[in-house]
């Protein structure tokens, strides 16, 4: 049983009391400590900037050419906060409850309550940084609604909220770089975690321009390296998003929790062609004004304009009258799949449903719709060559976000002392399904307001890392291991490309461990993944050398990790014999086809311990205790 170190006391006082009880590092001593931060998305950039402001030395690493390009930049719709500016009955408690319920009662109450509590500080911080959130003519901030909530609590900056929040965090980070207390290492990828006597003490990184491997020692390592959605090959993630940092930390002893909780986002542009390199998300905010429908008749190949109102099935509005088109993502996705599986899908492949704005345009006028969504409509038109002002969008679900990640306690520290994990890279807060506009909230909560406090308690209890730490054999060994792995991969000189293997793995996972999963499919995937992995290590071909900028080599290392991680993802999905949130096991559903949880047997976090490639991992459990909310079958009807 894992100890999540949740503070005692009433839920609403836990964080306040905990902050008071945390040990502090004297201002003069802070500069003696070095924190290594990997990843510069919302969580990494905000944490690095905050730690530097407090007085710590910070070394920051990202694989992109600039920290500003981390994939948080692509988040479109918004960020939640319990400000209750619209006076519609929102509160910290309501945001807490919606998030717990949205996560299908598989997250930690104390973490989620803290998240809701600091949500308001995030908005204050971002506004002070100059984030140009949407405003009303009064000069005050505007809100909109998102899935899984009946209040308007989402703050946004057109369809580019992630970009504006990330640029805010990036500007804070750049401010600290110019002060000299943050050293920035762009185009640098983490290849290993160095653990000495069970404590995280450093990392091995590769300079992606020169190929040079370097060791860094630190008093704490913070992983803010995002999610693993690209294990499916096609996802809405950036091409570079990968599992490598957390997987290699996992191989060094960090537990990986709930990997089977993957979020399939309902509104993405459907797949088109074998060459497709990624999927594009259309923000959930579109479901505020767009109506989802399919033809009532199977295989109706007529144009949408030729299908009359009576011949349409607005299936979300029909099945979930109180939330309508704004049901949570997992429910919207599964319903779209159900309609397509029943032969009612539209478009060339039949793997799409309509998202129709005709009513909203009639009601509000084209200019209002333009103001709200013009960049999304433009993007849709560029990709599909269809004009959504005139004809309904076609959408289909796609892999978008991963709720699973490295296990962390209430302090955001993994089971390895000194290794902290924040943002999408950890497993906390969203349970089995994340609500829209909550990823930005969690990334910034962790980075600005949680980790900077909790890491101090850890550092205060440990002496600053010794100058000669890097001479320790653990550093030498990790460096040599990373070097050998690269050289070995280059020496294979086989026949198949890296992407070819990645596509094969991705398709297998999507088919057997995607929107719906069953025992026989999962078992088949478990048989086939090791075979793909074995072939990779015998037959992959990588051009060029290790001592140069080599993008194929970078991808090969990431795909090699996906080929190991994929097996754990499937193992977890097979183990969890219930349906919850994004994890839908076909064997476990209500008569109406909704996810059927098994609270008696599965109200726990599955945290897996690595035992070797292809070997069965050890399961550790963290019991989830619900003291504040009553576990219930989620209903959005």
């Amino acid at each position: 049983m894992l100890d999540s170190k949740i503070p005692s006391g009433p839920l609403q006082d836990k964080w306040t009391n905990h902050k008071f009880n945390l040990k502090l590092v004297n201002p003069a001593n802070k500069r003696k400590y070095t924190v290594l931060v990997v990843g510069t998305g919302l969580a990494g950039a905000s944490a690095a900037a905050s730690l530097s402001e407090m007085g710590y030395n910070v070394e920051v690493f990202c694989f992109q050419d600039s920290p500003r390009r981390a994939h948080s930049i692509a988040a479109q719709g918004g960020i939640n906060a319990a400000k209750n500016y619209p006076n519609d009955g929102d509160s910290i408690k309501r945001l807490f409850y919606d998030t717990i319920k949205g996560g299908d009662f598989r997250s930690r109450e104390a973490n989620v309550y803290r998240l809701a509590e600091v949500s308001n500080n995030i908005i204050d911080q971002c506004v002070a940084q100059g984030v140009p959130f949407a405003r009303e003519y009064s000069g005050y901030l505007e809100n909109r609604s998102f899935g899984g909530a009946q209040v308007s609590r989402t703050f946004y900056a057109r369809g580019q909220t992630g970009q504006q929040l990330l640029l805010g965090a990036y500007s804070a980070l750049m401010k600290e770089v110019s002060r000299g207390s943050v050293k920035m290492h762009p185009r640098t990828e983490m290849l290993d975690l160095v653990v000495i006597d069970g404590v995280a003490k450093g990392i091995i990184v590769r300079d992606l321009v020169t190929g040079k491997l370097t060791s860094y020692a630190g008093d704490a390592v913070v992983l803010a390296t995002g999610g693993y959605g690209n294990v499916f090959y096609l996802s809405t993630n950036a091409k570079g998003s990968n599992v490598t940092a957390i997987w290699r930390a996992h191989k060094k002893g960090a537990f990986l929790a709930n990997p089977c909780y993957t979020q399939i986002h309902p509104t993405c542009i459907p797949i088109h062609g074998d060459y497709q390199s990624k999927l594009t998300l259309m923000s959930e905010s579109l479901r505020n004004d767009g109506r989802v429908w399919v033809p009532k008749d199977k295989n109706d190949k007529r144009k949408p304009s030729e299908i009359s109102e009576q011949e349409r099935d607005y299936f979300l509005e029909r099945k979930y009258p109180s939330f309508g088109n704004l049901v949570p993502r997992d429910i919207a996705s599964r319903n779209a799949k159900e309609q397509c599986d029943a032969g009612k899908g539209v478009g060339l492949t039949g793997q799409a449903v309509y998202l129709d704005f005709a009513d909203a345009i009639k009601r509000l006028g084209k200019s209002v719709i333009q103001e709200r969504y013009s960049n999304l409509f433009d993007m849709y038109k560029k990709i599909t060559d269809d004009n959504p002002y005139e004809t309904p969008m076609m959408i289909y679900p796609a892999v978008h976000y991963t709720m699973g990640g490295l296990w962390v306690d209430y302090n955001l520290m993994s089971n390895l002392p000194g290794l902290f994990v924040i943002g999408e890279a950890n497993f906390s807060d969203h349970g089995a399904n994340r609500l829209g506009a909550s990823a930005l909230m969690q990334g910034l909560a962790d980075g600005y307001f949680v980790l900077p406090y909790t890491i101090g308690d850890y550092l205060a209890k440990s002496a600053p890392v010794a100058k000669n730490m890097m001479e320790h054999s653990a550093f030498q060994e990790a460096w040599r291991h990373a070097d050998e792995k690269i050289k070995y991969m280059l020496s294979i000189k086989g026949k198949r490309t890296v992407d070819d293997f990645h596509r094969e793995l991705g398709k297998l996972l999507w088919d057997k461990c995607g929107m719906a999963r069953n025992e026989s499919g999962l078992k088949e995937a478990l048989r086939r993944i090791p075979a793909i992995r074995d072939e990779f290590w015998q037959n992959v071909t990588i051009r060029g050398s290790e001592g140069e900028l080599n993008q194929t080599l970078e991808r090969a290392g990431r795909v090699a990790d996906f080929l190991e991680f994929g097996e754990l993802l499937v193992t977890d999905a097979l183990h969890r014999r219930e349906s919850c949130g994004g994890h839908f096991r076909e064997e476990f559903q209500t008569p109406e086809g909704e996810a059927l949880r098994d609270d008696e047997n599965f109200t726990y976090v599955s945290a897996w311990e690595y035992t070797g490639v292809g070997k069965a991992p050890n399961l550790h459990k963290e019991e989830l205790k619900f003291e504040e909310v009553h576990l219930s079958q989620r209903s959005y009807k």
């Binding site: 900037a49 905050s50 992109q64 050419d65 600039s66 500003r68 390009r69 994939h71 930049i73 692509a74 400000k83 500016y85 908005i123 204050d124 911080q125 971002c126 506004v127 002070a128 940084q129 100059g130 140009p132 959130f133 405003r135 009064s138 000069g139 005050y140 901030l141 900056a157 057109r158 580019q160 992630g162 970009q163 504006q164 500007s171 804070a172 750049m174 401010k175 770089v177 762009p186 321009v209 950036a238 091409k239 570079g240 088109h272 062609g273 060459y275 594009t280 998300l281 433009d378 993007m379 560029k382 060559d385 307001f449 026949k495 490309t497 070819d500 051009r543 140069e548 900028l549 194929t552």
Partner: protein
């Protein structure tokens, strides 16, 4: 409906650390017109690898037109022929069967080539480090509603803040000027009450760093605005010049 076209590609190839490069010619056959430009390069690269040749290196990440990583000059135009579009959002339906495409990296003194189509844009980060921020520490902010901001100002700040830092403005400018990039950031903050406090110092430091990085001056060609995938207006350059002039003339700046 998609169709296929055949293209001739002349692509700039430059090895790591080699100051010189050259154009290599490739045939791209049966290119599906629904492909994005980068997917067309992906397919070519897969073929090159299978033929035992080095694939073309190019920066890219989100492929949604927002991260600012991708970019190349296509037939003399930064990000290619379509207005308001990054290279990743440019689809092959914008080209004709039989066309020859010349594909080059951004070319500017401030952006040295690292390999093939990849350039070093760290100069942009250093310009932001010089002053492209508001000096507020985490946890010390007042309530978000403490300072109302007029909607028109906020909207114009957002127009400027949309910059993705791709560098197309520099590549398109005959002088290799970064004034649209810097002007956009200066304007974003100058238009907001939160950003006014440091406005004078900010514009001076950022302009100084821009000059130090070897970017050229503005001679009103408007090529930057035409190439900008986010269609950021040259009015932001005018605003930067005004901010700069006022900061020099104001008494509190020495």
């Amino acid at each position: 409906m998609s169709k296929t076209i055949n293209l001739t590609l002349k692509v700039w190839r430059q090895k790591c650390g080699d100051p010189k490069g050259l154009f290599e010619t490739y045939k791209a056959k049966d290119v599906d017109t629904d492909m994005s430009f980068l997917e067309m390069l992906d397919v070519l690269n897969e073929r090159l690898i299978k033929d035992g040749k080095d694939p073309i290196s190019f920066d890219h990440d989100c492929r949604e037109g927002i991260c600012g990583a991708c970019g190349a000059v296509v037939n003399g135009q930064a990000h290619g022929p379509l207005e308001g579009t990054t290279l990743c959002q440019l689809h092959m339906r914008n080209f004709n069967d039989g066309q020859t495409l010349v594909i080059e990296p951004w070319r500017a003194k401030g952006f040295p080539v690292l390999k093939d189509l990849i350039v070093d844009r760290s100069s942009f980060d250093r310009i932001i480090q010089a002053g492209g921020f508001i000096s507020i520490k985490s946890g010390s902010a007042p309530d978000a509603h403490a300072i109302p901001v007029s909607k028109p100002d906020s909207d114009r700040a957002m127009d400027a803040a949309q910059c993705i830092g791709c560098g197309a403005c520099v590549a398109a400018c005959p002088n290799g000027s970064a004034m649209l990039f810097v002007g956009a950031k200066v304007s974003h903050f100058a238009l907001l009450p939160q950003g006014r406090v440091e406005a004078s110092q900010r514009v001076q430091l950022m302009v100084k760093q821009m000059d130090r990085e070897g970017f050229g001056n503005c001679s009103n060609e408007y090529e930057c605005e035409a190439a900008c995938p986010k269609e950021i207006s040259v009015a932001n350059i005018a605003r930067m010049n005004k901010e700069y002039r006022n900061s020099i003339l104001s008494t509190d700046s020495k």
